[in-house]
């Protein structure tokens, strides 16, 4: 597509993009979407990252940066000032995208996951971060000034949405492959005022945790107490 045809499509594309972003932000922020959560034991077990099939945040950021930059360049060269495009807004958008990507890099470093379903709750323990916890019947948990989290199912996909102050949204979408041998965790970070979310796909495969030489548990009043595991030679 070249010349006038491309020029005519630009406002439409921008409109579609803005509408899509608006929908995503609304999805993250609209309280009426909240409903009770139901525990399903679809992902239970230990999972470790498969680096070969996972996206690298820095590569993804570089790619998105290039695509977005060329998009802004095209718009600016088309000099369609009605849409408010200017070198300044383009730079701001790119800066926002880079920031979301940098945050994405920070929060997708998890190398192992343990998913545990209880009678009333589903917990996703991450080796490098806090536990993602979904409680049955609870639509939303947290403190407004710090962040709110909500869990929901979309068919067999588990979505954990976190809404942080300052117009920031984080979404973790867990999907199991048909054979059940891979767990894809798609993490999207959205920022109010940035034209697109930053999404990273990380693939996890099941593993059997080895017998620990030490078995540790938290004991109230004593802290972490470790003992020699049953399988260890003393």
């Amino acid at each position: 597509m070249h010349g006038p045809q491309m020029k005519r499509d630009q406002p439409r594309r921008k409109l579609v993009k803005t509408a899509a972003m608006g929908f995503l932000v609304a999805l993250l922020s609209h309280p009426s979407m909240a409903s009770g959560f139901e525990v399903k034991a679809l992902f239970d077990g230990h999972w470790e990252i498969d680096f070969a099939r996972s996206e690298s945040p820095s590569d993804k950021l570089r790619y998105l940066y290039d695509v977005t930059l060329s998009e802004h360049r095209r718009r600016l060269s088309a000099s369609d000032s009605r849409l408010g495009d200017s070198p300044l807004t383009a730079m701001k958008d790119l800066r926002g995208l880079i920031n979301l990507g940098r945050l994405g890099e920070q929060i997708t470093r998890t190398s192992t996951l343990e998913v545990v379903s209880g009678a009333r709750s589903l917990e996703i323990h991450r080796d490098d971060n806090f536990t993602l916890r979904c409680e049955e019947g609870l639509p939303e948990t947290g403190i407004t000034n710090l962040g709110l989290a909500r869990c929901e199912w979309q068919d067999s996909q588990l979505i954990v949405r976190q809404r942080l102050p300052g117009g920031i949204g984080i979404e973790h979408r867990l999907t199991l492959s048909p054979a059940g041998r891979e767990l894809n965790v798609a993490t999207s970070i959205l920022g109010q005022g940035v034209t697109q979310p930053f999404t990273i796909n990380r693939v996890y495969v099941p593993y059997q945790p080895g017998e620990e030489r030490f078995q540790c548990e938290y004991q109230i009043g004593k802290g972490k107490v470790c003992s020699l595991g049953a399988g260890s030679a003393s």
Partner: protein, 384 residues
């Protein structure tokens, strides 16, 4: 004869006069309303803010000789927890608190010296002289809110109160925690109110309460025989007569009740073990919970970030995420500690339940079974 036109004109003048009057009245009313709105009535006695029970509250202790009068026995039923448990471990913790707080109240009543035997029971006891039922409305490290109702055997309400206590940093200092539970003053307050009710009522109603309690206990075992002595009137129980002193029927029921007390005391001892084992870990748990809650409040109090678009300032963006991460890690740690507390309490609770299993099943079921055994005993002794 006036024409229709004249009549209409007359009516118009009449109506116009009324309208004018109404308009003037409306103006006066509006003026008065305005004046009333501009000068709100000043309450000469402003309602003070309820700060709840103060941590300085002291327990009133009996120093009165009751002239040979025996003291009233008190039964405390395990409390109901009315707050919604958000997590599984919180639900287990609620079960522990249902035991802990009545036991703490029992300890305080014993300490006050106003009462005879104070017992904690798994369910309501029809034969009790004075019975207290409590509901936990809010239970957090920073605030405990309870509702307590105490009735005597005649159905008279001695105390019906919703009370709360807020705690502060001072209450959770190690040296303070070693001395007493942070919420003990709340139970002092309730015990003091109950003691005040006792001083107002005891002298003229003690015998009536005891006799009614015995007859209501008799009804539970042999309704056909004892129903004639007590008449229910609305929520109250009116004693209409008593078997004569020395009556074998009365002696039998007294004897059976004594044997029930022996059993209830055994249950009570088992519950006491819960309290002894729970005190240490539960206080530490509360201490941690208080620290985390205070820290989370501090984190949440900084609402500057909520007013700007953080995506364009990486340091602010990362800061907001780190704050949320801190908060969630605190929650994780609290959850782990709640699990740990439940793990440390489980053997004690299981032991209590196990002991009860030797007799019947669970504690409430066992209590009912015990009653039916006593009823059988009464019949076999020729009571019916």
């Amino acid at each position: 004869m006036t024409s229709n036109r004249q009549q209409r004109a007359g009516c118009s003048r009449y109506a116009a006069g009324w309208l004018g009057l109404l308009a003037r009245l409306a103006a006066v009313v509006s003026l008065l309303t305005l004046v009333a709105c501009q000068t709100p009535p000043v309450n000469p006695n402003p309602v003070p803010v309820d700060e709840g029970v103060l941590r300085t509250t002291v327990l009133s202790q009996s120093n009165v000789e009751r002239g040979g009068q025996s003291l009233l026995d008190v039964s405390i039923v395990l409390f109901q927890h009315e707050t919604d448990a958000l997590t599984e471990s919180e639900a287990r913790l609620h079960n522990a608190e249902r035991h802990y707080f009545p036991l703490l109240f029992k300890e305080v009543l014993d300490q006050s010296g106003y009462w005879g035997a104070v017992r904690v029971l798994p369910e309501a006891d029809v034969g009790s002289e004075l019975e207290c039922e409590g509901r936990i409305l809010h239970s957090h490290a920073s605030e405990l809110r309870l509702s307590l109702i105490c009735r005597d055997a005649t159905g008279a309400v001695w105390l019906d109160k919703t009370s709360f206590q807020r705690t502060g940093e001072m209450d959770y200092l190690d040296e303070q925690m070693a001395v007493q539970d942070p919420f003990r003053p709340l139970f002092y307050d309730l015990a003091n109110e109950l003691a005040a009710a006792l001083n107002n009522r005891f002298a003229d109603s003690a015998e009536l309460i005891r006799a009614t309690a015995l007859m209501r206990y008799g009804i539970a075992l042999a309704p056909d025989t004892f129903s004639a002595f007590v008449r229910p009137v609305d929520d109250r129980f009116e004693l209409v007569g008593l078997p004569a002193k020395g009556d074998p029927m009365r002696e039998r029921i007294t004897r059976i009740r004594e044997s029930e007390y022996l059993f209830v005391d055994a249950v009570d001892d088992a519950y006491n073990e819960v309290l002894i084992d729970m005190v240490g870990p539960y206080r530490i748990w509360r201490q941690y919970q208080y620290e985390f809650e205070t820290y989370n409040q501090l984190l949440g109090a900084d609402d500057r970030v909520g007013r700007q678009q953080l995506a364009f300032d990486y340091d602010a963006l990362l800061g907001a995420y780190r704050r949320y991460q801190d908060y969630r890690r605190n929650q994780d740690e609290l959850e782990e500690m709640a699990d740990s507390l439940n793990r440390s309490l489980a053997p004690t609770l299981a032991e209590v339940e196990g002991r009860v299993l030797e007799l019947s099943g669970n504690l409430a079921g066992q209590y009912r079974m015990w009653r039916s055994l006593l009823r059988q005993l009464y019949r076999e002794e020729g009571g019916e």
